[in-house]
Symmetry: C2
Subunit: 242 residues, 2 copies
């Protein structure tokens, strides 16, 4: 099984995803928020590219979440802080979500056989889910405005590390090897690394340091958001036994 | 002073290089060959993009070097093995060189104030030279056919590491931080890492394992090829004292 890591959405080629499993990573903060919502009982997350599309799609009882320039969109129920999605109102809800980079990366990945939302929080579960689909894997770092973001690369390195622990026969491309080494070098200081990267510093400036610390905790969630039709729903490891 | 690492030539934006110092890295093998030739007394290396251009430019007494598909070009004096450039005939010579990725990366960097050819062999000297120019720095990993190559990333990480040892005030972008961490993780096994990456494995298959081992030795050269007009010439640390 071959695993490649793609540095940014910009470098992702949709046609390359056909017959593959794609793991989209936007550690700060879209896929961390998605994983948090799904872990806390959210039924469905519908990722959309634009704010207008989110508003158009909204049916009765559905909620809206997302950000532009790191801030909650006016009139939306939730922003893009994962901590907001631990709210009791999330349980059983359908949330339509639009963020600057993460939801765009998911939309660009839809030609894949399977699309998962991965982050540091659900890395181990995400590795198990991706391997269970038994196809070659592309881990797509969302990045920020077409630039590589360190936190996504470290998340990819961690997910790769978890995959390697589960399977000995993985062939990992050059960029994946680099991200794996980078992760291993900072694994005992992952939170500091996230505070040191560009998006981490930006969130601290905006008063959102708590989000950075929250997103830096490896393997605390079991649920993996996976695309089924137009929405992300929970995939849990136990499901493979059925 | 700000330092960014660019993953491949493809992502390099020429206009971004204006008023910057650019270090081009093609560890396997173009910039390693250039550094070897300059270290061994070559006067000038003229990097050109095409084989035809190399032949057109050749004046009496000048030699031709380079490769396509890793192999020496018919009729050329040298291929792209750094070991060939330790030849006595290199001393004082002008060599016109064309390779698949490295010379293209240099051509794309010519809007910069200074363009240096860096590799693992001359990393420390290259770091000193780049800092001496007192401008923001872009380290451009040449990559291979627009794909990231691990050996270039590790070379960038090593050069960054040498820069950081010389200056405490460097601001390093996210991709540079990732490459620095990746280098630190494999620094005691740099040769194995080069044999494990895609181009390393390819060179071994082609019977060129010796080249891979040669290029994996950090800081054994003092000379840095730097563009002056249309050619790379030697920059030596001592030159700063003049």
């Amino acid at each position: 099984m071959h695993v490649d890591v793609i540095p940014t959405i910009n470098e992702a080629i949709s046609d390359d995803f056909v017959q593959k499993t794609v793991v989209v990573i936007d550690v700060l903060r879209a896929t961390s928020s998605m994983a948090t919502a799904i872990e806390h009982g959210c039924s469905k997350i519908i990722p959309v590219e634009t704010v207008n599309r989110a508003r158009q799609l909204q049916a009765k009882g559905q909620m809206l979440g997302g950000e532009r320039y790191c801030k909650k969109i006016p009139g939306f129920d939730f922003g893009n802080s994962p901590i907001e999605y631990m709210n009791e109102s999330v349980r059983g809800a359908t949330i339509i979500m639009s963020t600057s980079n993460g939801t765009r990366a998911i939309q660009k990945s839809l030609k894949a056989s399977h699309v998962l939302a991965g982050c540091i929080l659900n890395a181990s579960a995400c590795a198990r889910a991706a391997l269970a689909f038994e196809k070659d894997i592309r881990i797509v770092c969302a990045g920020t405005q077409d630039q590589f973001s360190l936190e996504d690369g470290l998340g990819a390195g961690l997910i790769l590390h978890e995959m390697m622990a589960l399977r000995a026969d993985l062939e990992v491309g050059d960029f994946g090897q680099a991200m794996h080494s980078a992760f291993l070098h900072v694994r005992d200081g992952l939170e500091e690394a996230l505070f040191r990267c560009k998006n981490g510093r930006k969130l601290v400036r905006l008063g959102m340091a708590e989000d950075v610390a929250f997103c830096a905790r490896p393997n605390v969630f079991e649920a993996v958001p996976v695309m089924r039709g137009d929405a992300l729903v929970a995939w849990r490891p136990a499901a493979t036994a059925n």
